[in-house]
């Protein structure tokens, strides 16, 4: 299928992006991005992970400077050296990460980053009030603290703030990823109001349904290039996915089926208020499982709940047929569940400590006798683990903080391997921030772990990783498991379910 030809609306174009390029180190993140947005238009930017969307957003909002190409707003070509400069030229960014301050009041937050308001006085109140009303926050008072508001309302405050800056271009980077449906509806309504006021809106989202419903035109990026810009009316979810993935036949590669053992972990009725509605799954030893879902889908919350890191979660767990309670991570570890967080810096490794300490951190009881470290057991355990992870013995004394991302992740994963008491290994995005070589090594480690009889469960948003590594993939969307896939599944199907939910939904 050939990409739909782009509609030309040169007459009223407010924002023009011409041939933008940007590389980081050796990788070309964006090759050639060109598109334009008219005043009053809602323009969606789509693409799978690594397609270059977020780099484009960063260049437009002044966080990165392009290597080549030009950005025009109005008639002038602009050089957006910083976020402040971009803001002065009328670019407002609403980020995935909330940049509002919970301890301040609504009015104070609206004032933050507003270049015209030096201090707060009565004259601003009327203006702030109308801003709030325009995003549907009529019920919120200006003197209310943000900590009293829900996360959706905070997101709307952020949109209101962007509006208050007299923006000409409003960029929304996945504004609804962590919001509920009702909250998302408010965001959509306010985005429409923003456009109706004559702003150009650039809308980045993984939720393809909302992309089609909300936007006028859709630009799709793949591998750093713009594939096509099409009118939203001419697109369907499937044609959009086709544009995002291209012609490459992404299918689960045929690989020898692994012998599945007995059920190692049974999860039933897992619920995390506001994040996961209902999740149940059985995992057999010897298999690699994946929960596939975008940010806010609940995939990562499922793993964290099973590892005892979410006090608000309710779930019933059985490890090897025995019911266990995981009130704390320590309890989960005792039950044989090991967890590799997606944030290895703050929730994983001890960066200031040597590799050896990190590898053996979780098995101190095994290398001590009556509480005293046994040199013999320590070095025997260490040698085995270093070999397993493919790390050199002479580096065992190096601080983990001095290693590359890939090797750090190897240490993190390795810490959970080679022990009989670990039955289930959970990994939240196991190869985030890891280079290609390290990624292959970690995949090999995980496959090896499964071959030794562990049940491995990871979460990921990367289709390639899901295809390469998982025997079983469960797709998640908005806190609900969509479907379970075993064996051959097309990437397009996985992506559709991750971005749009089940088929039956409109």
């Amino acid at each position: 299928m050939t990409p739909t030809p782009s509609t030309t609306r040169t007459s009223e174009e407010l924002v023009r992006v011409v041939g933008l390029a940007k590389s980081f180190g050796g990788t070309q993140a964006v090759r050639d991005a060109s598109f334009s947005i008219a005043a009053g238009e809602i323009h969606a930017l789509c693409g799978h992970n690594g397609a270059g969307k977020s780099t484009v957003v960063k260049m437009l909002s002044g966080q990165e400077s392009p290597d080549g190409g030009a950005i025009h707003i109005g008639d002038e070509p602009l050089s957006l050296r910083s976020r402040q400069v971009a803001q002065r030229h009328g670019v407002a960014l609403v980020d995935q990460e909330l940049s509002v301050v919970p301890a301040l009041t609504v009015a104070e937050n609206l004032m933050l980053g507003d270049l015209r308001t030096r201090w707060l006085n009565r004259s601003h109140h009327a203006r702030f009030r109308s801003l709030l009303d325009s995003v549907g926050l009529d019920h919120v008072r200006l003197d209310q603290r943000l900590s009293e508001l829900g996360i959706g309302e905070r997101q709307l405050i952020e949109i209101a703030r962007a509006l208050g800056q007299d923006a000409r271009l409003v960029i929304l980077d996945e504004p609804t990823a962590t919001l509920s449906d009702v909250e998302s509806q408010y965001v959509y309504a306010s985005v429409r109001k923003v456009a109706a006021a004559g702003c150009a809106v650039l809308f980045v989202s993984h939720r393809l349904g909302e992309v089609l419903a909300l936007s006028d035109r859709v630009t799709v990026m793949r591998d750093g290039e713009v594939v096509a810009t099409s009118a939203a009316g001419e697109l369907t979810i499937d044609s959009l996915i086709h544009q995002m993935l291209g012609e490459a036949p992404h299918r689960l590669s045929a690989r020898p089926a692994r012998a599945a053992g007995d059920v190692a972990l049974a999860v039933e009725g897992l619920r995390v208020p506001g994040r996961v509605e209902e999740f149940s799954m059985g995992l057999r030893g010897g298999q690699v499982y994946a929960v596939a879902g975008q940010l806010g889908s609940g995939a990562s919350d499922v793993l964290r709940a099973i590892s005892g890191l979410v006090p608000a979660a309710t779930l019933r767990l059985q490890v090897d047929g025995k019911a266990v309670r995981v009130g704390s991570p320590a309890a989960a570890v005792r039950a044989g569940i090991a967890f590799v967080s997606n944030d290895r810096k703050s929730e994983g490794l001890f960066l200031d400590k040597p590799i050896s300490w990190n590898l053996l951190a979780t098995r101190l009881p095994d290398v001590t006798r009556l509480g005293v470290l046994s040199r013999r057991r320590w070095s025997a355990a260490l040698t085995g683990l270093l070999e397993l992870c493919g790390l050199e013995r002479r580096r065992a004394g190096h601080d983990v903080g001095s290693l590359s991302g890939g090797n750090q992740q190897k240490v993190f994963v390795g810490r959970c391997l080679g022990r009989d008491d670990v039955r289930v290994l959970l990994l939240d995005e196991p190869t985030r921030g890891v280079d290609v070589g390290g990624r292959a090594a970690i995949h090999a480690l995980l496959r090896d772990a499964a071959d030794r009889g562990m049940a491995v469960l990871f979460s990921s948003t990367e289709l390639e990783e899901l295809q390469e590594l998982a025997d079983v993939v469960v797709t998640m969307h908005k806190g609900v498991a969509v479907r379970r896939h075993e064996g051959d599944t097309a990437s397009a199907v996985l992506l559709r379910e991750m971005t749009h939910g089940a088929e039956e939904r409109p």
Partner: protein
């Protein structure tokens, strides 16, 4: 932040060069400081005498033993206890009023009492993640208040004479000095060679990581504070024995003296690093410098000021060194 690729060779080299340069700065500062103390010491009248050396280690010993306890707390990532002085006062009272039972039972009672009142605070910090500064300020008032209430504000006198054996000076050196050396070795061994020591360093460096890894964060923290309380109690027994009476002011300025000794030894308040030997060195350093100033006839005010400057200097050096690690 994402690390998208392995650091290229030049950046690794740069990091290494950066690191060695920082370490060089630290080495130079340390050598200059030691030389300065030596030169000033050697040129100070009566500094290099046996009697003066005894005076230095004696004054270091009482602070040093309490500082060892604080070292456990600091390495474990619970920052500080600000309740050392009132704890020592209260334990001192228990020790003296239990003298009628004999020295050993009284000592045991004192140690158990000290370990318990400090260990309870440790449990709150370890299991409930309370802020140790706030908690120990509260505990400090509570302990001092209870002690004053129970004694009615009067000094407690010993109910027996066993305590005097703590004032012994075998070979002319006070017993507390031997006890300090022995306890330093014991704490150092515990930190280096036991599973508890390892987990204490890990919990101190990155508590969320330790939690997620399933390490017994609460238990490790509580044990560290129990040990700290026992060590505070040893200082209390010696102080009470020396003064032959105990009132609510027995602890004096011990809280901040102990903090100064640990910091001057180069143990960072952020946790995860440090050692008992460093604390011993810190306690001796502060005692030696105070001694020099005393011998040279400076006022108490100057001595206190210089103590502060030493702590400041070491903290800055330690900070520079730490920054060199992951720049």
């Amino acid at each position: 932040m994402n690390v998208t690729a392995a650091p290229s060779a030049p950046s690794v080299l740069r990091r290494r060069r950066q690191r060695t340069r920082n370490e060089l700065v630290v080495d130079v500062v340390v050598v200059v400081a030691v030389l300065a103390v030596l030169v000033i010491g050697l040129t100070t009248d009566r500094f290099v005498t046996v009697a003066n050396a005894k005076a230095i280690v004696t004054s270091a010993s009482l602070v040093g033993i309490a500082a060892l306890g604080l070292t456990l707390i600091m390495i474990g990532g619970s920052a500080v206890s600000l309740a050392i002085s009132p704890t020592v006062a209260a334990v001192g009272m228990v020790f003296l009023s239990a003298q009628s039972l004999g020295l050993v039972p009284a000592l045991a009672m004192a140690i158990v009492f000290g370990a318990l009142i400090t260990g309870v605070q440790g449990a709150v910090v370890g299991y409930a993640a309370a802020n140790p500064v706030v908690l120990t300020i509260a505990a400090s008032f509570a302990i001092a208040g209870l002690a004053a209430g129970i004694t009615g504000g009067v000094s407690v006198s010993p109910s027996g004479l066993g305590y005097d054996r703590l004032n012994a000076t075998p070979g002319g050196v006070p017993l507390s000095v031997f006890v300090l050396l022995l306890l330093t070795l014991a704490v150092e061994w515990t930190l280096r060679r036991t599973g508890f020591g390892r987990s204490l360093y890990l919990v101190g460096e990155n508590r969320p990581a330790a939690q997620a890894a399933g390490l017994p964060v609460g238990r490790t923290t509580t044990v560290a504070w129990l040990g700290a309380g026992a060590l505070f109690a040893v200082t209390a027994a010696f102080t009470a024995a020396f003064n032959t009476s105990a009132n609510v002011n027995l602890g004096g300025t011990l809280t901040f003296d102990a903090i100064a000794a640990v910091l001057a030894g180069g143990t960072p308040i952020s946790g995860g690093r440090g050692s008992a030997l460093r604390t011993l060195a810190g306690a001796v350093l502060i005692a030696a410098v105070s001694d020099i100033l005393l011998l040279r006839g400076y006022s108490t005010g100057v001595q206190v000021l210089v103590k502060g400057l030493i702590v400041l200097l070491v903290v800055i050096v330690v900070h520079v060194l730490a920054r060199g690690r992951h720049a």
